[in-house]
């Protein structure tokens, strides 16, 4: 790609992702309300924009796919046929494929991907054919497979060969073979299938072509035209016996009809059109409201994209401004310049505002992450054959950009877990007298200086006894330990590394990477995760996160001449003691606080602070800190006060420094170090 294009690449990627997100959510809306014209318009617009952008960038594959999507969408818009499940499934798959293509080019690769299958289906739909969708087949009775219509286009030669074969008493068959999802050696399976077919008859044609099949350039299914003297059922059986073949669809090839889709179209089109227009007529009154909503949405989304690094730079500059302002203040005071001091007071207000605005700019609504979940939940629910209603609340809750970027994966894991293990199958739910549609709630809300995100399901809950048994079986705890635990403690065992409760390993979760990964991730973000459950009624996973990773509340303390910051989140209390209150137990200094023995850490000694005074003060200030259930008393010389600090990294050279978690810049321009409380324990 030349330089000019590189320049636009980032913009293309961002916009493409945004439009794909719109496509996903609008398609979901459309699925719930198939006749909503304004949603269809939005889908059409997004697809059209992607088409235009990718064509400009020279991504012909994306442009072609979106072009075909547009054709189908246009017909939907005109009400030629309604947006049924089969069509939506194909459209969803198109969006998935587009996402893959976008991600592929974003990692610097040339555009690559096979869309022939999808394009063919889109064309078939546009031609009025009912979409033959592999994933929908699970719902269909097996007999329906006979009704499968191949989308393969036959040329005159193919037709002549099939006809010649038929004259010799052989038959032509259209066959579609779908491999199991996750099949690794697709080319090997293709080879085995071809060997079997050669034995049965002659393969005249395949889509995609044989070479591409051998190079695994296909999704999961491919189509063949076979001439054979065997019966349909025998062929089906022989093919189905090959391992990892998910489904074999077979139907006699009808060459006499020429272009096959035509007759289907003429028969089906008229009634469908009638249905379409009736639905449209019914929907008419709602339209102005919907249009107004769409317009509002467009106007509400006015924004400018800014690179996060630029914001960091801006924040640094503001910090610098504040520091210089402090210096000016000092000059004003030393030289008794009243005018200057007054002006600086005003400047002070402006800079404070500026600082808080810059911090706010870094905040993004958590909806940015939540957005992608409805689609994921829909797919999962279909895959697992469960009915699930995902309720999202508090999307507008804001979190720091850095947290937002990290929170997605843990949430995906929790949601998958709830859907896969939490929510029961529809039959079980009915049998238990529950609403057959399971509910999964994803909520976000502010709570003081934290944001709390909860994933709640009304499924079967977690059985503490099962967890105890599993944990003992896996050797994570001993039987005695298990007995001593109460129900809550037992349920929390799911967060232990190596714990996975799924009785049967499914594709969705339970791959051995479990809740421990979620816990580690959340804790690395300075947050906490907890679980509440009620057997038979559901579970609630609660994540508590700091509003931002960049700014924390801290207590500034002085040790000799040095200033340190202790994160407020890990401080229990501060107390003052007489030197005599410190006792020794086994040569370790401890204090007794409300009946609890707390070890003492002398910060000056711990951090090798150079002694500036010899005298030992009678009154000692002790900061009681905690990590988990562990506590320690940290002796400092002076408590300066509580302050919001901006966390700065110490850089590569000092990374991994024991006892120091980071640094911050104080109002006077000096650097103060932030204590890593965990290292003092």
């Amino acid at each position: 790609m030349d330089m000019d294009m590189n320049q636009y690449m980032a913009m293309f990627l961002e916009e493409a992702r945004e439009h794909l997100q719109t496509l996903n959510s609008s398609l979901l809306d459309l699925e719930n309300d198939p006749a909503n014209l304004s949603v269809l318009d939005e889908i059409f617009r997004s697809a059209h924009t992607i088409k235009g952008m990718s064509a400009t960038m020279g991504f012909t594959v994306m442009a072609e796919l979106t072009h075909e999507m547009e054709n189908v969408l246009d017909l939907l818009r005109k009400g030629v046929f309604p947006a049924d499940h089969a069509i939506l499934d194909v459209l969803f798959r198109c969006v998935d494929t587009l996402e893959q293509l976008v991600e592929h080019v974003s990692s610097g690769n040339a555009e690559a991907g096979d869309i022939s299958e999808l394009v063919k289906r889109l064309k078939a739909i546009a031609a009025g054919e009912k979409a033959p969708v592999a994933s929908a087949a699970a719902d269909e009775p097996p007999a329906a497979a006979d009704a499968f219509v191949s989308g393969m286009a036959l040329n005159d030669t193919d037709r002549a060969v099939v006809q010649a074969a038929q004259e010799q008493g052989m038959k032509g068959y259209d066959i579609r073979i779908s491999l199991r999802e996750g099949c690794v050696l697709k080319s090997a399976r293709v080879y085995m299938i071809m060997t079997v077919l050669d034995d049965l008859g002659e393969v005249l044609k395949s889509v995609p072509p044989t070479e591409e099949l051998e190079q695994e350039k296909f999704d999961l299914s491919f189509e063949l035209l076979l001439v054979s003297d065997r019966e349909q059922d025998e062929i089906r059986k022989r093919l189905a016996d090959i391992s990892e073949v998910e489904k074999v669809e077979i139907s006699p090839c009808r060459v006499e009809e020429g272009e096959k889709p035509q007759p289907v179209f003429t028969e089906a089109a008229a009634p469908v059109q009638a249905v379409g227009s009736r639905v449209l007529a019914e929907k008419k009154p709602d339209q102005p409201a919907a249009a107004a909503a769409a317009e509002k949405k467009l106007r509400g989304g006015q924004s400018v994209r800014v690179d996060i690094e630029k914001l960091d730079a801006l924040l640094n500059l503001v910090g610098e401004l504040v520091i210089n302002k402090t210096r000016l203040e000092q000059i004003g005071l030393t030289h008794r310049l009243t005018d200057l001091v007054e002006t600086i007071e005003q400047m002070d207000r402006v800079t404070t505002d500026l600082q808080s605005v810059v911090m706010k700019v870094r905040m993004v609504p958590v909806g940015q992450v939540f957005n992608r979940f409805p689609r994921m939940v829909r797919d999962l629910a279909r895959e697992l054959n469960k009915e699930i209603n995902l309720v999202i609340e508090g999307e507008e809750t804001e979190l720091d950009r850095t947290v937002i970027d990290e929170i997605g994966d843990p949430l995906v894991h929790l949601l998958r877990n709830s859907i896969d293990h939490g929510i029961e199958s529809t039959e079980v739910r009915k049998a238990r007298g529950k609403n057959p549609i399971g509910e999964v709630r994803l909520t976000a809300a502010h709570e003081g200086n934290n944001v709390v995100i909860e994933v709640t399901d009304d499924g079967k809950g977690i059985d503490p006894d099962v967890i105890r048994r599993k944990a003992v079986e896996k050797g994570l705890i001993t039987a005695q330990e298990a007995e001593k635990m109460d129900a809550n403690e037992a349920v929390r065992l799911v967060f232990l590394p190596g714990f996975s409760t799924a009785e049967v390993l499914t594709d969705i979760s339970g791959r051995g990477v479990g809740m421990d990964v979620v816990k580690t991730k959340i804790e690395s973000l300075g947050g906490m995760v907890d679980v509440e459950t009620k057997l038979g009624f559901g579970s609630k996973f609660k994540i508590r996160l700091p509003l931002t990773l960049a700014i924390i509340q801290a207590l500034l303390v002085k040790v000799m001449g040095e200033t340190y910051a202790i994160p407020l989140g890990s401080i229990d209390s501060t107390i003052s003691l007489q030197a005599g209150d410190i006792k020794t137990v086994q040569n370790k200094e401890v204090i007794l606080l409300r009946g609890q023995i707390i070890p003492i850490v002398r910060l000056a000694r711990e951090l090798n602070v150079p002694q500036t005074t010899k005298e030992q003060p009678e009154e000692l200030f002790v900061v009681i800190v905690h990590v988990g259930d562990q506590k320690a008393g940290v002796i400092v010389d002076t408590l300066i006060g509580q302050q919001e600090i901006v966390i700065k990294s110490l850089g590569k050279l000092l990374a991994g420094n024991k006892s120091i978690a980071g640094a911050t810049i104080l109002g006077n321009g000096q650097v103060a170090l932030i204590l890593d409380v965990g290292s003092l324990m």
Binding site: L315, N316, L317, G319, E320, I323, E562, E606, L607, N608, V609, P610, K648, S649, L650, G651, K652, L653, L654, N657, K658, S659, I660, A663, I665, G669, Q670, V671, A672, L673
Partner: protein, 150 residues
Amino acid sequence: MAEMVFGEQEQQFVVFKLASEEYAVSILQVQEIKRMTDITRVPHTPDYLQGVMNLRGSVLPVIDLKKRLNLPENDYTDDTRIVIVKTDETAVGLIVDAVSEVTSVRKDQVELPQAVGTGGADYISGVGKLDGRLLILLNLEAIIGLQSEG
């Protein structure tokens, strides 16, 4: 290192003083030169690592170059400067006694460290000889040494 610096026939160097000797680093590696400022000590680090400083809102480590090279120490003066250098995207401050000039050194004026035969030659990428002056050209990567042995 020396090859890299002398990709062209002539290179510009920032010359500074440490005790009675003259040292130099390639101007391409120097980001800026600052007056002495407040430096915050960082516990559990080698003693040549003087601490961290605030450079327009970012926190950078500062190395006392004389301690690093085991040269006799003296107090900081008005001439003391912090030379901010950058290697591999890592910016570091180096405390030096004084910054004297920027000068050009030709490739043929430089002897490689093996020929000079000094101890601790890892830190030196060569010695420049200009009109009877000796400029010790520093190998910053080794001096900053992400794998500190102190």
